[in-house]
Symmetry: D2
Subunit: 343 residues, 4 copies
């Protein structure tokens, strides 16, 4: 089925691409994975490349990702570079016959994503996108309960995310709007937990930070969804919160309900003067630390065992389509059917 | 300002209209209110009327509400009769110069509600609707936090209600649809806590009980709202739940957030085999027991002190308009602006 | 079995003794009880007596409790007077053939309590002590779970109580020490939920308020208990808390556990700057408001139905014995067996 | 101050001793630590030794711990062997001039522990005991709040631990009794969070598993403590639980309180039929997974930076003294002062 198999399943050769903040996290996590052996890697900044090599106890590192990809000892490429380089690097790696793990998204554009999907379908090589929520143990438990019928027929999906702090303006100008950049995580969960969406209607506002208006973006939004299976859903998003990183998802069915809330970083609570301070997560990197370890571990477990990996590029296309539908609904002030979002 | 004042503020004469299940609750609660003295009352079933008289330690009771209203010792009428009699009884009481406390709604129809509003405006008599959530201490605390600026500018409103069990079919056929019958409580809270709504879009489904389809009604719904102040909101509703009476409201602002959840009936929790059983409320009557006492207590406190009472009929008109807008949006499959809901 | 029966079970004649703060609460609550009809009452302060009469819609009131007890229309006496008058008033009422509901304790002294028990055993009249925790719905649920075997064999009991604010010094000087005045509520729960105690060991400290040392009392304590059925337990007590009224009880058995925590006054929570403010109870009067209504309601239900009432004076003796054992253990710095606390 | 310094602080040579279940966890965790370079290791079972070598990407491994200790490239020894070998291996490593990280305890015997303390004081080499709770982020937060005065003067300490399942009989026979084997973790926290203890009184029972009686052990216990600073405390312990791994610690002071409860493994909750199933931890290995990574990371950070490491052997002596005091109190049925536990 796949045109890829490891030379030695207990010791698979890896190159890291990108050794910035998240890249270093991935490199350290791979050092603990029994069957991942980091050979080399690349980062345009030589100091980062060297830092990655050191953390990985790897042989070599460079500033040229193409060189790292073509290293004959390298069988798998792990991509943690800026978003606008993902599609090109995935394509280069696939053309070189390598398996790929890549940070999400593949691209912010349906056409470019489609191009990667087409190549991936042609070459039959393993590609896994880094969807930390899908691998996070809490959301996996939700998925298992739903899949095993413990909730009965699904009736309602609701998700709300509030980031602690809004991003810098330069980021806003290139992020494609908050539905693609932020709501997309909850939209992906909606598809993961409930199924495909038939129609959306979205409203958005600039309520607290005028920089969003300058970027033709918004800081607060709501998306209403009809799923193909009849369930109804909402995704609410806001770009700030004084009460910590606030993400909650809930799926209700005919006989049961599952809630995943933001959780506490640790089970410590401080009480004083009728107020309680939980030990909260600061942001997504804090919340999903365990998922970052687990997502690569599962990827290498499956590669080593010859099992399929995923979610792959095709799935990325559908989640992107949903975020694009939300954006169009808001910009054109009308409900949008997913079938009409074709490019 | 009001054309009504009590003969003796420390002992105000009352007639109860309706002594069924909720009527008896109100009669017993009034017995504990220092300045409410129940003189008489009426219920079409003589046994109920007599039961009410007995619980109230009242002098007399009959099967004729008009007689009870016109009793010269009666200064206030407390109405707990079926919904379709509210408007007429309120009008009769007002024309007889009595103050009125009435179960909600005034009517399920904008025109009939408007007629009561007009009479009330003409006669300047005290009328208070029984909105248990608005008087419930939890929602009042939310209101106070919002009013005092503790949340900053309001950004998001979300409410979800799931009843434990769906109502009987005969009830469904006359209830006006779930937006008027059930979502209306959360729509009223939205207005109470955040302010007036500019536009709604609603979707609904029959997902678990085909009787709803037969009644041209639905069992599951979502309403998306734009408030006039820019805030965004959602109201989700479902007609059943295996996990107890599930109502939750959340208002998030620029600097703070307030959550009112369904709560536990008592703070007892039973744990066994990794499952925890809280002591949950069974339904609204269970959850709002304290509010039922408090709403009449506050009414008589204010009557006794010569302070205005409320919420009055005009406010009922606006909440009804919102529920009608949701219903039209769903039936006509389009967003609806509140300004266009004029009759 | 009882030498008392009501003339008319649907309308039992009552006199209130004491119409101070708690007395007025009881009088108002009785006004809502279908089969309690307050005839009269007494309070040494004429204004209180009159206030009680008015709230009860009663015929008469005086400053003389003995007169109120002997009123021939009065069948039941409800005592809310200061602690040191309870025993004498109960005895007077019993000798007059009346049923009695009395605030706890009967007395702070084993001998005086024993004297009331002896009289009660001789006369066979209904006496119920106002033990709000035993009638509180949360603790009742705990009791039912335990009694029905849902916890299996009981292994551990733990209780902790922290009052919001310490009492005034003059109160401390007459309260008999914190084991009799405050820990006694948890000691009574231990007996109610788990059973009789075989041995205790208690330690206490003055940690935050030197007034306690002056009163030969303490502000912080712990009592360790061996129950006769083999279970082990602890009761921790402290006289202040900046984080609200903090009372929690937990009983663990071989197959299940039940927790009763202090709960929130309402299910409203305010979040801001990583701190959450629940809507907490301020003190016991706040927490047990529902129990105060319920305990008299149950008393009259049982009186009306000819069922036994309780807990009675004999039970008071055993709880007092436990508190006295704790006090001796601490004062004499040694474990104390309950069998040795005979007077 | 220390007679040890690393050749290269960014790459410190390590040998693992023991590569069983926990040993392999430590070996994998060290692979991610930037400045720990595992050279070799030993396990009496050759397959384990080889597995450890492989996970560590290490050069060599053997079945002889003494050989591994004396490897000239090895600067630090990480001990995960059975308890009764700890003291001897620590002594061998110290005599060879190596720094040591060792699983707890040093020994179950005061004399043997004292011997290690004496050697450690003589040689001035870094020794850190693996106390996962002390490094766990939740307990560290509690410690920081207490140390910074956020609780005010400490008044009460309470801890309760219930394991999910009791240990096998053969383990019971050699574990030294539940105070040394299980309560010791909470006793250590008591010292860590509140300070040294002056006196204890302990009671224990066999309530659910007769095997404990056969092992001259117990399954349920309570220890009451007087701290030297006047605070009072209790430690409750039980050897089984049907409701998951149940450990909770609470420290209350004059102005604040901190609670560390068992937490949920993930923030997912499943509700059905009025019961909620949280996603609970199964046992200590599950609960403290993050602490196992963190404790070695901190050890190597401090070794690399030339900072002191700890807690060291002297501290082990005091915690052991407390557990021995509890055991004696129970066996001799009397309160025991810590000053009297000298050997």
């Amino acid at each position: 089925m796949s045109n890829w198999s490891p030379r030695d399943p207990s010791s698979i050769g890896v190159a890291f691409l990108g050794a910035g903040r998240m890249g270093q996290v991935h490199v350290r996590n791979m050092a603990s994975i029994p069957n991942a052996r980091t050979i080399g890697g690349a980062d345009p900044f030589a100091a980062n490349a060297e830092k990655g090599r050191d953390l990985a106890r790897a042989k070599r590192a460079s500033t040229d990702p193409v060189e790292a990809i073509h290293d004959p000892e390298v069988e798998v490429v792990v991509i943690s570079t800026p978003t606008d380089t993902h599609a090109r690097l995935i394509e280069t790696a696939l053309r070189a016959g390598k398996a790929v793990w890549s940070e999400k998204p593949i691209a912010q554009d349906l056409a470019e994503t489609q191009r990667v999907v087409d190549l991936w379908r042609e070459l039959h090589l393993p590609v896994q996108r880094g969807l930390s929520r899908r691998i996070d143990p809490a959301y996996r438990r939700a998925k298992e309960l739903i899949a095993s019928g413990e909730l009965g027929r699904i009736e309602q999906f609701r998700a709300l995310s509030r980031d602690t702090n809004p991003p810098p303006l330069e980021f806003l100008l290139s992020c494609g709007g908050a539905f693609l950049d932020m709501s997309v995580h909850d939209l992906d969960l909606a598809r993961f937990l409930v199924g495909e969406v038939e129609e959306v209607h979205a409203w958005a506002s600039v309520l607290f930070d005028e920089r969003f208006a300058k970027a033709d973006d918004w800081d607060t939004s709501v998306i209403m969804m009809k799923f193909r299976n009849g369930a109804l859903g909402v995704v609410e998003t806001a770009r700030h919160s004084t009460w910590g990183y606030d993400i909650r998802t809930e799926v209700a069915g005919a006989v049961g309900k599952v809630i995943v809330d933001g959780g506490q970083k640790t089970p410590a609570t401080y009480l004083r003067n009728v107020a309680a301070e939980g030990d909260l997560f600061g942001d997504f990197a804090d919340r999903f630390e365990v998922a970052y370890r687990r997502e690569l571990e599962v990827f290498f477990e499956n590669l080593g065992a010859g099992r399929p990996v995923g979610p792959g590029p095709d799935d990325a296309l559908e989640t992107l389509r949903l975020a694009v539908a939300g954006t169009r609904s808001w910009r054109e002030n009308r409900p949008v059917r997913l079938d009409d979002v074709t490019g």
